[in-house]
Symmetry: C2
Subunit: 333 residues, 2 copies
DNA sequence: ACCGATTATGTAATCGGTTACATAAACGAT
DNA sequence: ATCGTTTATGTAACCGATTACATAATCGGT
């Protein structure tokens, strides 16, 4: 009985060749003779031999793994991006490690940037310290990005996306349009906020301070924003809102409906992300679609290119789309 | 200039000791003298030495990684479980590899069960082939499970959960209660379905074939079930439905609302999972809460216990809870 | 029949740590 | 002063593959 796992030398002995030949037979079959190949093949099957990856990786000075650093694994938005990443990395022979940047401490995250732990890093969190990630393994940033970190980025045009949303609401006749922003300091928040401000200005529409509501992308913060809005005088508060995330839009809509107001009769709402569920809530949400799976795919492909030594500087910018549903309507008379 | 990464022998030379001493100074400080420890520490800092994990793992015959096999990474339900897993594994010094069982082919999945790739396997997909996963690395099953695979399981009492849902609807006076099931063959589907049938029988309520609607947990399948329900004669179709997932419940409700019917006025609905969004849709969904983060945590802890050699046979069964919201009401008169 | 080129295979170093075992020094007890 | 014990450190084998280099065999050409 063989209690231990067979190693390459066991196969070699059984096949009557050297370990070097076995190694070649397995990883470069064209370099050994027909008969040897068959003998090795047979010995592999007889012993049930399976390659030890740790050994190969040590020799090759690579790990075969890519780490994704996610701000919040529980957030469906990110999981869909991860899904895109996984769909590219898997077939390419890499495996995907995932670390939640909230639950892991700084030292652990630093360790992930070690070449002996991962061959590359895909960053989905713009709040990480740039310096700590410098000069270790190749880095690709997706969605969010760390200002000052020179790495290929895969993103969407957040500014233009805000323009789409505001344009749509303005076209419906809304004159008082508000915005619920993401967390302060987040690069996406800033891009969407300034895009909103620009688009409103370009149309000569006002954007007073009290029409900008704080948020943090979460459902609860959307509900909180709704409470503020509900407390404002109906005559001056916005008749339409553009929110920086679908989650916030859901919270917002839920809260105003609870107070007996109707969407879009009393208030039009545009979200951001187009997460799956919002097509099925009532009313179905008008929103900006981010191609999440595609973002993940593109980031993974970018990473693979880096690992092959290709260095393309330019960012990958993926298109967004305004999805028209039933949460927006003409401004009340 | 040091182009190469420093290795342990570089540190040893600089500190004037052997590599063995350096190794001990770093991983078992109490086994070296005070002075040596300081000298090594200094040499480590001077060289910028960082441990090569591949080398250590080869020697230790472990990988430091746990693989989670997920049926669908894009599904928020699973991402929250993963989040729970990550929160336990990270602090314990393990990293989390994730593979999507849909995008990966069979051979790749088999590779994940290799001891040289991962120290353990957490399975969230009950449709995997049991035999392929046997006898390689420790396995823990969470949520779903593979019939016939002898491994510790972390799950909820699906049968009892169905009883809670049916009991609630029956208490509201509903006499015709239907069920939208998950995909055929899924262990969860079967447990929830038989729990439903039992609970109905226990109350003397009928459960004719046409009150059982096929589904596959997805939003679309919920909408499809709604279409079937809408086509049935109002006098005999169910006045209340228990659906095996929240996603299906959303699809179902969205569709019946689109046809002008009211929830819960015309129809009461109970979902399953309590995903975050359903508290904010309209009407807020009455549902069975699964403690997802907790399931992930428990599975990870179970895995750590396995790796320490503890073998506890019994399954971990976590409690579910009926969350009362506004999608259920008294049966129409 | 001889020689350079090609092909197939073996030998042994290497990747970068860990650790069993050996050795030497220091210590306490008789 | 002697001996057993403990403590600190070094030597070298080992984890399990890959691969540069060496060697032997085969082949085609003259």
């Amino acid at each position: 009985m063989k209690h231990d796992r067979p190693k390459i030398s066991d196969v070699a002995r059984l096949a009557g060749v050297s370990t070097a030949t076995v190694s070649r037979a397995l990883s470069a079959p064209e370099r050994v003779s027909e008969e040897t190949r068959a003998a090795v093949q047979q010995a592999v099957e007889a012993t049930g031999y399976r390659l030890n990856l740790a050994a190969r990786n040590l020799r090759h000075r690579r790990t075969g793994g890519i780490v994704a650093l996610v701000p919040n694994l529980a957030n469906p938005f990110f999981s869909q991006i991860l899904s895109g990443i996984a769909s590219v990395l898997g077939p390419a022979g890499y495996n995907l490690l995932i670390a939640d940047t909230r639950t892991a401490d700084a030292q652990t995250l630093l360790d992930y940037a070690e070449p002996s732990r991962a061959d590359g890093l895909i960053i989905l969190d713009g709040t990480l310290p740039a310096t700590a990630l410098q000069g270790r393994v190749p880095v690709v940033e997706a969605c969010e990005w760390v200002p000052g970190l020179p790495a290929p980025r895969v993103k969407i045009d957040n500014r233009a996306a805000a323009g789409l949303a505001i344009g749509h609401l303005a076209d419906l006749g809304h004159r008082r349009i508000g915005h619920v922003a993401g967390p302060r300091g987040n690069v996406l928040t800033e891009a969407r906020l300034s895009g909103t401000a620009e688009a409103l200005a370009a149309r000569g529409l006002p954007f007073p301070e009290e029409h900008l509501y704080p948020g943090d992308f979460s459902l609860d913060s959307g509900r909180e924003a709704a409470r503020i809005w509900l407390d404002q005088p109906a005559a001056t508060r916005p008749t339409a809102l553009f929110l920086a995330s679908d989650a916030m839009a859901c919270g917002f809509i839920g809260e105003v409906q609870r107070h007996g107001l109707r969407v879009p009769g009393d208030l039009s709402v545009v979200g951001f992300d187009d997460i799956e569920l919002v097509a099925h809530i009532s009313p179905p949400l008008t929103t900006i679609r981010q191609p999440r799976t595609e973002i993940g795919r593109a980031a993974a492909e970018r990473m693979l290119a880096c690992l092959k030594g290709e260095t393309r500087e330019a960012d990958t910018v993926l298109p967004v789309e305004l999805i028209l549903r039933a949460s927006t309507g003409p401004a009340p008379a």
